[in-house]
């Protein structure tokens, strides 16, 4: 209340001066924001993206999740939630914890989508644990997406550069894409009432930046890059004789999200 009175007094005493100050502050602040958000300060993370002759549609982006590296810290989920202000209870990305005991029983959980990190061990496993690992999940960015096939108005579509995106201005909110996605990566955004999902941070990639989750992963379990760039890490991984698979290959969706060291227990 005291502050309010002081401000009111100031306005009363010198209206013109006050307006000048407000205007200067607004313009100055805006300029600072524009300058820092221009991306010029952050070094290019995807080689060649900012070159003038870079043809974006000529790139063949893939996402690789290395489940032998993931430690279940949940940093990726936190980064994602911050990047998109994802409403609670909905998940653009999440991390699952798999535990296999010596009776070959599989226990899976993902409390709060792994957002809080896996800091405590499960105590309800009846037999000695034989193996345990974490599996991050996100949009599979299918070559043949079910969601774009069923969308009645073409609001969800595949861009020329292979990204499956949602146009929130066209989406009617019928939920058909949510039913059709074999990977359950979609949800109905409670505020916009339209379908929403992971975009592999398309807005960042177009500026030559890695997806938010990739850039924060402390153990490089999430990798992103251009398969047409023969110097890229993803190119090397995909060329080398690793165990690489996709989720639900029988669905025929041909995901561009690949899993390094994928286990048969993972669905």
């Amino acid at each position: 209340m005291e502050d309010m009175k002081a401000i009111q007094n100031e306005i009363h005493n010198d209206r013109r001066g006050f307006l000048k100050k407000v205007l200067a502050g607004t313009i100055g602040g805006s300029l600072l924001m524009v300058y820092s958000a221009s991306g010029q300060e952050i070094a290019e993370q995807i080689p060649g993206m900012r070159e003038e002759d870079s043809v974006f549609t000529k790139k063949n982006f893939v996402f690789i999740v290395d489940i032998t590296r993931c430690i279940g810290c949940g940093s990726c989920c936190v980064a994602d939630k911050n990047e998109y202000n994802v409403p609670d209870g909905n998940y653009r990305t999440w991390v699952e914890r798999y535990i296999i005991d010596d009776h070959d029983e599989v226990f899976v959980d993902s409390p709060n989508g792994g957002l809080d990190g896996y800091t405590k061990a499960r105590t309800d496993i009846p037999h000695p644990v034989r193996d345990t690992f974490f599996v991050p999940k996100l949009c599979n960015m299918c070559e043949k997406p079910s969601c774009t096939q069923v969308c009645p108005v073409g609001a969800t579509y595949k861009s020329e550069d292979g990204f499956v995106l949602v146009d929130a201005k066209r989406c009617v909110g019928c939920g058909y894409c949510i039913q059709a996605c074999p990977y359950s990566v979609r949800f109905l955004h409670p505020v916009t009432r339209t379908a929403s999902k992971c975009t592999w941070c398309y807005h960042r990639v177009r500026k030559g930046l890695l997806p938010a989750c990739v850039s924060v992963c402390p153990v490089q379990a999430r990798k992103f890059g251009d398969l047409n760039d023969k110097t890229s890490e993803v190119y090397k991984i995909m060329r080398e004789p690793h165990i690489i698979s996709v989720l639900k290959p029988g669905m025929g969706n041909e995901p561009q999200l690949h899993y390094l060291g994928l286990r048969r227990e993972v669905v």
Binding site: Y91, V106, V150, Q179
Partner: protein
Amino acid sequence: MSAVAAHGETIAAVSNYIFPNDLHVHWSLMIVLYPYITGLVAGAFIVSSLYHVFHIKALKPVAQFSLLFALAFLICATWPLLNHLGHPERAMSMMLTPNPTSAMAGFGYIYSAYFIVLLLEILFIFRPTIVHLGVKANGLMKAIYSVLAIGSDNLSRKALALDHKIIAFLAAIGIPMACVLHGYVGFIFGGIKANPLWATPLMPLIFLLSACVSGIAGIILTYILLMKLSGKQIDVDCVQTLVKFLWGFFILDFVFEMLEIFSHFYMATHHWHTLEALYSGPLFNTFWVAQVGIFSVIPFFILMALSLIRFKDGILLFFAPIVSFMILIQVLLMRWNVVVGGQLMSKSERGATTFHPMWLEKEGILVAIIIMVAPVIILWIIGKILPFWQTDEGTRTA
């Protein structure tokens, strides 16, 4: 458990893991009602066509009424969908800028085409009645009848003969259209490969047969109720014939519903393990106990008895509405078990979520009841303009 597990094969009960985005059931009561209402429409139209196209003379008393019944429900078929959409104001985009690969995008076209055919058929069948009623009426009603007569009061033998040709043509193209309307609704579910309970080529067929069943049952129930309420004579031969058709369609419907599950069980792919968990768990009561046990097996035998044995009229007219009501519940349960049941399984193949409809939410029970009562009110209003029954005054024409 075997040490060698197929891809993804686990004991669902042990982990009961649901994908975090699968907790919420997106398609709830409104999407249960949508195929239910369109099914009633398609089935009622089939009843009318049995008389107009296949000349089942015994069905003459309900031939006109079933068209009006179909119209009343068709008017409301879009309501649950519009209420369900996150952005109903963009609904017309489906017709203006449709995605050709989407099954759902076809709805607007199929619905509109069917609506036009049904409306035209009603106007032609009722044209002599409308002209007669228009002569007697005055004021607002006279204006309504003159609009409905589409500017023609010609009731000459030649004009009526032309009408009959048009009616037969409309009824004939109406049959495949009714089949498309409802077979298509089945395909909306049957075409979703990600959902093992939905993804079967039998789905359109099951939806279509259950549509016929629900439509015939709806006509039997409302015919007998309306006749009893108005103290008119019930045409027992008509009811008997309807019951026989109901039994015939229900045999096919029930057999295919069971065949679908049996095929899954027999082939026992990894999908069966999730379906098995569903049918023995969350769907046990609504599917096995209610849909199959109470509302399929019992009506099946009642219908069989009513069809094969010539009971006294009183017994037939006592059991026919009861068994019809049970069939209507059976079809509603089938819609529920398919639409909601299919979504209970998480695509993690390791667990199921739960769903309990609330009374007062946007897509809740109260709204569902309102949407189901609305066609009855619309039918009542239609009844104020056009007579339900051929025997009514002013309808005795060629």
